[in-house]
Amino acid sequence: MTDKIVIKNIKKSFSSGSESKAVIDGINLTIGDGEFVAIVGPSGCGKSTLMKMIAGFLQPDEGSIAVDGVERKGPNANGILISQHGSVFPWLTVQQNLMFGLNDEHIDKAAVADHYADLVGLKGFEQHYPRELSGGMLKRAEIARALAVKPEILYMDEPFSALDALMSLRIRTELLRILEEERHTVILITHDVEEAVHLANRVVVLSNRPATIQTIFDVPFAHPRKLSDPALQQLRDDILRELGIDC
């Protein structure tokens, strides 16, 4: 597997007034092409900050991030960030949202948009405005908008947290199916360890703020994975223990 993303010793602090708050304190991580890496860690430890830096929206204070061997200077369409707070444009319909990132190479943008709407279970809602959708449907629209441009990398910041358990499972399964075909490289931030072991090739556990990498777990199971598999359950418990939650 060739290296897709190489993160070298990045650090980031935020200063408010005279105080400087270290958020990321030296993270090294190499992510392979087509790999699925999940990042878990305590709330507020700096996961979203780390993701914004990898996706190019924030510059690290120190260290470097290279994608395909080229230093990352800013965001681009090769890697789409699905932000924690959602960014589906409320003034565009679902279809217009899904068409947004499509360039003029696409002959029939509406058809592509509708295909991806269907894929995430939004068939019939193409002409609806975001305000007419539930929180979970919005998240799915956002995921579909990202998938529609076939990005090499998907940066997903807690994309399933607004979904109920059933819908989350459905979308996860759908995502795995899509990844079979399209082979995106994926970085997923989640607070759901089960979700991480269901989807990822590796699970990175971050420490409390300032975040460093505490441990990296391999998830050596082939897809499709059964969540009830005892080995998977064992791994989940190990990761939870690493996060300081005994069960």
Binding site: F57, P75, N76, I80, L81, S87, F89, R131, V149
Partner: protein
Amino acid sequence: MIKLKKILPPLALITTLIAVWWIVVVKTGSVIFPTPLQVVTGALELIEDGTLWEHISSSLMRVGAGFLLAVLTAIPLGLWMGRVDGAYATLNPVFQIMRPISPIAWIPLAILWFGVGNASPIFLIFIAAVFPLIVQTAAGVHTIEPRYLNAAENFGVSRYKLYRQVVIPAVLPDLIVGMRISLGVAWLVVVAAEMIALRSGLGYMIMDSRNAGNRYDLVIAGMIIIGVIGLLLDGLMRLMEGHKSVRWRYDR
């Protein structure tokens, strides 16, 4: 039914005010201050000889022209200032200084530069309407949530698409608010401007009625007509707030 409930109290208040006005005029036996009936009769006179429409259309034409010029100037300028920090830092202080200067204070300069034709009031309306709209537009751009701009940047769309599908729809609700304020000020100013310089318009009509024979019935008719047209103009702008492309802002 609900509409009736909303309309009834103000209607009752207006009726009471008219009644009080009538009674007071009759009781004090004023010869110069007109009763409501005299105002209506006076207004009918003007409607019959056609001069009322002339005055109204002159005023509306001037407001329309000045307001349109203001919109054409303020929106591109405001968008630019909202997007480019250097432009904002340079222009905003200047506009903040010019904004509180009452358009009435510009009248001498307007007459000096444009004479006493139509250009003067149009210029004054422009001055009055342009600054609030610039400020509102730039503020609207500044309040676009970064997550939307980030998403647009992420997809690497063209500048045209960025404006067409993100920046402009995002500020549209602010633009409409700005245009409402701006048109309100424009209407306020046209009447004031016409009081001084011109041969037509509602402002002129008011001053002329007083000067040419103390026709206070026509003065008051003029005032009421100005108020009603102002209300209608505002209602027109309010209709735009209900348009489906801006409802996202108000529904949630």
